[in-house]
């Protein structure tokens, strides 16, 4: 129990950010019309591609002899980029289609 409180205490700002972000995520999405469900899912999918930052850090700090880190890091960057780039491009394509109908 004490250690949990300690942990909370030290990271209280992180917890604030997490909790506020949860509220925000829920509030923002609340009014989405169902036609936009698929593009929204796809856009959100692109946003969590921010995990690529972690991959870049892993890759960038890997020492030259550490093949595990180098190989896995390389793979992680490739996959992360796929997620980000593919995600945004595919969302854009979907939305372009929606827009075309508008006019």
């Amino acid at each position: 129990m004490q250690s949990i409180i300690d942990f909370l205490h030290e990271n209280i700002e992180m917890f604030y950010i997490v909790i506020l972000m949860i509220f925000l995520g829920i509030e923002i999405i609340g009014r989405v019309p169902s036609v936009l469900h698929t593009p929204l899912m796809s856009g959100a999918n692109a946003i969590h591609g921010v995990v690529i930052i972690g991959a870049i850090i892993v890759m960038g700090k890997a020492e030259s002899g550490n093949y595990t880190a180098l190989v896995l890091g390389f793979l992680a960057v490739v996959l992360g980029t796929l997620n980000v780039v593919g995600g945004f491009v595919v969302t854009d394509r979907m939305l372009e289609m929606f827009r075309k109908k508008k006019k």
């Binding site: 990271n11 950010i17 999405i29 870049i56 890997a62 980029t81």
Partner: protein, 475 residues
């Protein structure tokens, strides 16, 4: 103290994610929103590459990083641009799986660092590894792995590579694996440092196994919901990375997607009048079959010939086309658009009635008909469509079934009871095109087919449409 503007860049990225997601949830701003979030992402990525410092040093291995990014870019753009519009959901699933795998790999490498550092210490792993750090690593690993493998299976299912697979005791089995995953994670922490890696890899393997059995039994048509759920999982996995590196962009982006994704999943289920539990445990199909067996539907069906159907429509004042999953399967959207044009030439007013969950992904019909260049004004939302139904002469149902099932309104025992439907029975005449009397997605009978003003026009949607077109040209 080396102060840089890196945190500011991350702050900017976080804000663009929030604004982007917000704009994505309104039709008029959605596209700009996507671009804004993408711009923020670019800022975050390049700021990390050039400004990130650990122990005062800049990052190295730039060649590796850039070549990996270029490879990822090329594949990503090609795949995203090439794929057919109708294959969108599986593509989202695929990219989501990549994100999950990325999160898992990061965590694995970070565990490896920990392991290398403490391998020879000879004490318990828990004595040397800080709990917060370990928790972030193990959570990232487990959630990332499940998200990765689950997305791959969802992708395979939608692409027709895997079939649904369920066995008795599935739920119990899954629960046991999940417990084993958690147990392995705990064991890793309390093991001797030199064999912590064994337990760790057991955790990874079990998590992958769980991911497989989590998604396999869920019906293929429920995949959009599952993908949305796994999407929010990947968000949480990314947020774990944010904790690990004390990186606010990852943390906020991940949590944002985690929260929004979870709500979106629930909203999707709600649009189909189902609960998330119901989708995950798959009890819907089961119930439905039982219901279909017990409930007997009365009356006889009436068939109509292609030429009669063509006549009926040609001399109608207003025709309402109700597209459904069958139209998508038959890839008949272009032929449908031609029929629409042919009818309009004859002075018939043609509209489309779009049910929000017609087809197999939200917005499926909109995307499909947009692809065939059907103009936006002709697409009526459910509410508008129902209002115009009374003044409609012919409602032409093309491969739709559940979304026009009156049981949703008047049979409380029906599994789809309460779902809003398109009230086609209000039209003067109803023509239903499908291939057989087989039920649709929900697996239940449809009383509509037996109503006096309904006629059935059996056959594949595309073939029937082509025949109708031929008839219309001849008259």
């Amino acid at each position: 103290m080396p102060i840089s503007i890196l945190p500011v860049c991350y702050l900017i990225a976080s804000v663009t994610f929030i604004i982007g997601l917000k704009m994505l949830s309104k039709p008029s701003t959605a596209r700009t929103g996507n671009l804004i979030a993408a711009a923020g992402m670019v800022v975050a990525i390049f700021a990390t590459i050039f400004l990130y410092k650990y122990n005062g040093k800049s990052l190295g291995n730039y060649t590796w990083i850039f070549s990996a990014m270029i490879i990822g870019c090329i594949i990503g753009v090609l795949v995203a641009k090439k794929v057919k519009m109708t294959a969108m959901p599986e593509l989202v699933s695929f990219f989501n799986g990549m994100g999950g795998a990325c999160a898992a790999l990061i965590s694995i490498v970070e565990f490896d660092y920990l392991y290398r550092e403490y391998r020879t210490v000879g004490s318990l792993f828990s004595d040397v590894a800080p709990l917060g750090h370990y928790l972030a690593i193990i959570a990232g690993t487990i959630i990332g792995s499940i998200s990765f493998i689950g997305s791959m299976i969802a992708w395979g299912k939608l692409a027709g590579k895997f079939k649904d697979y369920a066995f008795k005791g599935q739920h119990l089995f899954n629960t046991i694996i999940l417990i084993l995953v958690l147990a392995a994670a705990v064991f890793t922490y309390f093991s001797k440092t030199e064999n912590a890696n064994i337990y760790f890899f057991a955790t990874v393997a079990l998590a992958l196994l769980y991911g497989v059995f989590f998604v396999l039994p869920i019906g293929g048509a429920d995949m959009p919901v599952v993908i949305s759920l796994l999407n929010s999982f990947t968000g949480v996995a990314a947020a774990c990375g944010g904790f690990l590196y004390d990186n606010k962009a990852m943390l906020t982006g991940g949590i944002l997607v985690g929260a929004a994704g979870t709500l979106l999943t629930i909203l999707m289920c709600r649009a189909m009048n189902r609960s998330l539990m119901n989708v995950l445990l798959g009890s819907f199909g089961g119930n439905a079959k039982a219901a279909a067996a017990t409930k007997d539907v009365h009356g006889n069906i009436k068939e109509i010939s292609v030429s009669d159907a063509a006549m009926l429509m040609a001399y109608a004042k207003k025709v309402m086309i109700v597209p459904g999953y069958g139209l998508a399967v038959a890839q008949a959207q272009h032929t449908c658009h031609e029929l629409e044009k042919a009818l309009e030439e004859k002075g018939v007013e043609v509209k489309y009635a779009i049910h929000p969950v017609a087809g197999r992904m939200p917005g499926h019909m909109n995307v499909l008909l947009a692809e065939a260049d059907v103009s936006y004004e002709k697409l009526l939302e459910m509410g508008e469509a129902n209002e115009e139904m009374k003044s409609t002469d012919v409602a032409f149902i093309l491969g739709a079934n559940d979304v026009v099932n009156p049981a949703a309104k008047n049979d409380p025992s029906s599994p789809i009871y309460g779902m809003p439907i398109l009230e086609v029975e209000l039209a003067k005449q109803v023509i239903v095109n499908k291939r057989s009397m087989k039920p649709g997605y929900a697996g239940i009978e449809n009383q509509l087919f037996y109503q006096p003003n309904t006629s059935m026009l059996f056959g594949d949607a595309k073939k029937v449409l082509q025949e109708l077109l031929g008839e219309l040209k001849n008259t």
